[in-house]
């Protein structure tokens, strides 16, 4: 339990400093994911018990190099650390510092100290410092900063007891961590800039503390810009900043540089007193990067690595998927046997249990993919991916980092869309969000699995060719997503090119608990978002297929009766209504029913087709029965429904159509408008329809069937 009224400790630091590892070490399994009030950025809060302060809450602030901000997301750091409304003001800030990159990390520490909150510095990775032969004189640094400094090795849990004690001490005696301003950026003109802006700040920002007022004025001077995307900046502040900056420019000054250089000058003047650097030597990172960032070998390695990841996704997840399926089947039949036959039992077994099952089968693959992504992040390889992908991403107006959410899109678009929150510009975020659902997510796999199987006659399975077809679908979706980003980036989302500034952290051994926790958190997002929507849609589809009940003459064959039920149900009617639109793509009305179900969630297609073709509900894509049933479907004229061409056309349709309510719901929430999900739905559906039409009609013209 996290006490609601305990003291609040904020954890801040540069990216790649082991901040999250420290958070996990301090809070153990108590961490809960929540949203910051007023914004949809998630953060973690965990509990920590201290001897004197009792239960305190620890809040993980997004990693940042500086408190200055351009976007609402970056602005979170200042809001969380300074405790600007509506975020609660922390009682203490722990600044996590990578001791191997001390001077750059101290820049953020100075900013945090300026805000006038008690600070404790956690000097992390001191083991690697020693390994390199560098030395930090902790006492000397403590004297300069006048805040308590605790050397730690977060990944091994070293120094954490001392850190807890120090936090406890400072919570009891806040003055210990409140040194007042350290590197005051000086100069009479800059002083005037600060004063002018400070006068315009709302009272609730500075809360009667004049030091804090100066700090926030300085923050505004660095952050506000003509085209920034900041929240809740009063117009008067905005005007004051822009006026002062214009004035400075006329006088040949650059406020940004004066402030930033001022802070760094303070650090550099003192660095000799607390930092002794050993001469540089070749590191393991140098040797590894020589291969992984090699123009040719590096790129090839990346492609091979991705292939291995996807391959293992299938082979490793398969047993788990089978287990879940048989479990759901057992539960279903147990419930069916225990309850009297009837409508409610039907609903429970086919609708609820089947629906939950259809969500759960994705879990193994999603867990695995997020495990790999977490591993790539934690070892530092993700920055190398961004390095390798930048040229391609730049061509479509994004930068290499944007490839990361696209990678998550291979698992599920929902967490991938949430992952775009880290992007600096709204335009980049929107653009990425719009194309992520085109990536081959795991919900498409059962559909592809069924259709690829149907392409081959029974007993003539060709695992290699089938596997290659699957790979081709991945490639197809990636290329189309990049092409769409290219087109959208030049039309709807025109904007200046985003410069790339990418930190290349040294390679590190992953901290397994952090990787596993991240994997679970992302997967939980999927379960929560997709779970509810898919469950509701499966039940709705089941109802549409079951009503109105068709009247069957006694004595009629059961199979015929079931066929009649499908034909006369609401779903059957909708399917026939849809037939004229989808006939040019090679689909009949029964496929139409499947498509209606699939518009809620793609995988519902498989279970719907099982119902349509009168098979029990627990059939799935691997069941031989459904495959055979699909192969043997005939049109009224006796020709087979699932010709190779129809299968291809259907696969292309599934690759491109926006058939996922959860994605649309998340886009609505993230953009705050109905316009964007409607646009996404429209452009993807049109794209899918036209592409399938081209495949089917073009194929027929070329003489395929």
């Amino acid at each position: 339990m996290i006490a609601a009224n305990g003291k609040l400790v904020a954890l801040t630091g540069n990216p790649n400093t082991g901040k999250t590892t420290l958070f996990n070490q301090l809070t153990g399994s108590s961490a809960k994911v929540g949203n910051y009030p007023g914004v949809t950025v998630e953060h973690q809060v965990g509990a920590l018990r201290l001897d004197r302060a009792g239960p305190v809450r620890v809040m993980d602030v997004p990693g940042t190099y500086s408190l200055s901000a351009r976007s609402a997301e970056e602005q979170l750091a200042i809001r969380a650390i300074a405790g600007l409304q509506p975020i609660e003001r922390p009682d203490l800030v722990v600044a996590v510092v990578d001791s191997t990159q001390l001077t750059r990390n101290l820049y953020l520490v100075l900013q945090v100290i300026e805000m006038g909150l008690p600070v404790v510095v956690a000097l992390n990775m001191v083991d690697q410092l020693e390994h390199r032969g560098d030395e930090v004189d902790v006492e000397a640094l403590e004297r300069e900063l006048s805040v308590p400094i605790v050397p730690i090795v977060a990944s091994r849990g070293e120094g954490l007891d001392q850190l807890r004690r120090t936090v406890d001490d400072v919570l009891a005696t806040p003055a210990l961590g409140l040194p007042g301003w350290r590197g005051t950026p000086a100069g009479p003109e800059l002083e005037l800039d600060i004063e002018t802006v400070a006068l315009e700040l709302p009272d609730d920002w500075w809360q009667g503390d004049t030091n804090r007022r100066r700090a926030l004025a300085l923050w505004a001077l660095l952050s506000v810009d003509i085209d920034d995307e900041l929240n809740a900046i009063p117009d008067s502040v905005r005007r004051a900043v822009l006026d002062r900056r214009a004035l400075a420019e006329v006088g040949g000054r650059e406020i940004d540089r004066e402030v930033i250089a001022g802070r760094y000058a303070w650090i550099d003047e003192r660095a000799d007193g607390f930092l002794t650097s050993a001469p540089e030597k070749k590191t393991l990172t140098d040797r590894v990067d020589r291969v992984l960032l090699h123009p040719l070998v590096g790129f090839a390695t990346f492609v091979v690595l991705m292939a291995v990841v996807f391959q293992s996704l299938f082979t490793w997840a398969d047993p788990a998927i089978d287990a879940i399926e048989s479990l759901v089947g057992t539960v279903g039949s147990t419930v069916e046997g225990a309850l009297p036959a009837g409508f409610l039992t039907d609903l429970l077994v086919s609708g609820v249990i089947g629906g939950v099952g259809s969500v759960l089968v994705f879990l193994p693959q999603i867990l695995l993919l997020f495990f790999f992504i977490g591993l790539m992040e934690d070892t530092g390889y993700m920055a190398r991916v961004a390095f390798l992908m930048d040229r391609i991403m730049k061509a479509i107006g994004l930068h290499g980092r944007a490839f990361v959410p696209m990678l998550s899109g291979y698992a599920c678009a929902v967490p991938a869309i949430l992952g775009t929150r880290t992007m600096e510009r709204r335009r980049d975020r929107m653009l990425t969000m719009m194309v992520v659902p085109l990536m081959t997510c795991s919900a498409r796999l059962p559909v592809y699995g069924l259709l690829i199987a149907a392409l081959y006659p029974p007993n003539e399975e060709a695992p290699f060719a089938q596997g290659m077809l699957m790979v081709a679908m991945y490639l197809f979706s990636t290329v189309i997503a990049l092409l769409c980003a290219f087109v959208l980036g030049r039309t709807l989302f025109k904007g200046p090119r985003v410069p790339l500034i990418l930190e290349m952290p040294p390679y590190r051994i992953p901290h397994w608990p952090s990787v596993l926790r991240m994997m679970w958190q992302k997967s939980r997002i999927f379960l929560r978002e997709a779970g509810t929507v898919i469950l509701v849609c499966t039940i709705a589809m089941w109802l549409l297929l079951s009503f109105p009940k068709s009247e069957v003459e006694p004595g009629v064959d059961a199979e015929v009766a079931a066929g009649l039920q499908v034909r006369e149900s609401y779903a059957g009617e909708l399917g026939r209504l849809l037939e004229p639109v989808i006939e040019p793509l090679g689909f009949d009305w029964k496929i139409g029913i499947g498509l209606i179900g699939a518009f809620a969630a793609r995988e519902v297609f498989v279970s719907t087709m099982a119902v349509v073709y009168d098979l029990s509900e627990d059939e799935d894509e691997t069941s031989v029965a459904l495959r055979d049933r699909v192969r043997s479907q005939r049109r009224p004229d006796g020709s087979p429904v699932f010709t190779p061409l129809t299968c291809f056309s259907l696969m292309v349709f599934f690759a491109l159509a926006c058939q996922c309510m959860s994605t649309l719901a998340v886009v609505k929430r993230e953009t705050g408008s109905y316009g964007w999900p409607v646009f996404m739905f429209a452009y993807m559906t049109v794209l899918a329809w036209v592409s399938s039409l081209v495949v089917y009609q073009g194929g027929r013209l070329l003489g395929f069937e």
């Binding site: 190099y65 500086s66 200055s68 351009r70 191997t100 990159q101 001390l102 001077t103 750059r104 820049y107 660095l222 810009d225 940004d256 540089r257 930033i260 250089a261 760094y264 650097s277 140098d286 990067d289 960032l293 123009p295 040719l296 920055a383 961004a386 390095f387 390798l388 930048d390 040229r391 730049k394 200046p496 410069p499 790339l500 500034i501 990418l502 930190e503 290349m504 952290p505």
Partner: protein, 76 residues
Amino acid sequence: MKTSLDTLTAGARAQLVAIGGKRSFRRRLMELGLLPGCEVRVVRNVEVHGVMELEVRRSRLTVRLSEARELFVEST
């Protein structure tokens, strides 16, 4: 001799003298410690990928060659 940063090859060291480009780009670079007057080492310059990796203050940053063209250095 003053040259733009993108012309330097792997292993070269130079002193940064001027940063050009958009304000947000300049500000971010400066906040990472890439200030005029500081020493920069080129870790790699990969023309194929259009990017170069720099070492500043013991940390490594990748920037695009097209953007490094606006950073000026003097060789030391």
